[in-house]
Symmetry: C2
Subunit: 205 residues, 2 copies
Amino acid sequence: TCNGISISGKLKVVLHNHSLWLKFYGQQTEMILNKPGRRMFPFLVYKIHGMNPVAHYRVFLEIVPVDEYHWRFQDGRWSQCEKTENNMPGNLLYVHPDSPNTGAHWMNKEIKFEKLKMTNNKEATNSENKMILLQSFHKYQPRLGIEEVRYGKHETTSSSFTHSFTFPETEFIAVTAYQNAKLSQLKIKYNPFARGFRESYHSEE
Amino acid sequence: TCNGISISGKLKVVLHNHSLWLKFYGQQTEMILNKPGRRMFPFLVYKIHGMNPVAHYRVFLEIVPVDEYHWRFQDGRWSQCEKTENNMPGNLLYVHPDSPNTGAHWMNKEIKFEKLKMTNNKEATNSENKMILLQSFHKYQPRLGIEEVRYGKHETTSSSFTHSFTFPETEFIAVTAYQNAKLSQLKIKYNPFARGFRESYHSEE
DNA sequence: GATTTTTGCACCTAGGTGGAAATT
DNA sequence: TCAATTTCCACCTAGGTGCAAAAA
């Protein structure tokens, strides 16, 4: 596991920024939730192989709850706490904006989920693409979905298969503020938008 | 003509920023060409009515040469000059990035060609969407194309119709530098990205 | 010379960061 | 008091303007 490659049938998916994800995975990745919506960092980038170039596919992401427990960061460690009673709500599906599209299109270059946003606001409505609604202090596992789309005679859509791809190193805990200082230092180190917080920023050549 | 509405069969298209285009049309619109590619301003925004919500359509733009003449700005006026000998080259087609999509999608909101870029560089290759290749000092007329897409049994695509919509007020002359000072003042007045050139910028409340 | 195109630039728009302070 | 969330912010990235000077 955690080798950055996942295979299902004829399809092969590579987690394109695998090594970056591993760095965060080593500190237990945290992702920020807020009302206007926050991007993931790292964001998910895949490379897909083995599609039929002329067939049509819908590519999407599911953010799957890993368990029904509340997690807590204490004494420098994450630990499972009480079980969550209510059914965890949430919009956990995000369809890639290029969907639907041909196999040739999807295989042509990396598939980036750069603009996916996550929120804890139940009333959130992003005009362009719906935001992912999650619960703070819960653990999630992103899962890539690839669905072949067939267009029937009567304008209806029927899918012939759906394949799922999971990369354990992309698991994360949703938070409203970073808990682990080492984790937030990784964010600052690798996210270009956080460059202002790098100690080296003003001293570098 | 120039009322901002165009009808073809069951389809009706409204030029959504009609009044802005009219302001420029009154001064003979100019659009900048350069190597990295330049957006149009105003850019083309349409509202489409009368599609079948569940049918699929491809929406695209053609930048049609109005004539084969070289135009010149002299003594405050544009005039037609010598005829262009060579066949005018160019990539004159720009498929809207949402294509293909359902009638419901297209009719849901205004269709913006905000990110279309124009260039005079024959070797230009924009990774995302191809740039429109035009000739400086030539006159062009944008034309909206709507093509119904039908998916056949054998993964092939066959179109059942294509409708075209032309709005005379969106005609323009391509240039590498603005010729008419009144025209460039309109650009400064209405394009948010040119705000720094507005006289009123620093004196406004 | 004269005209056209290119380059470099200051100045914007638009929006993504984590942190600190305020709020809940 | 404590923990979690929200708000505000300075500081970035990214990239769209017309203009002036340089180049072609």
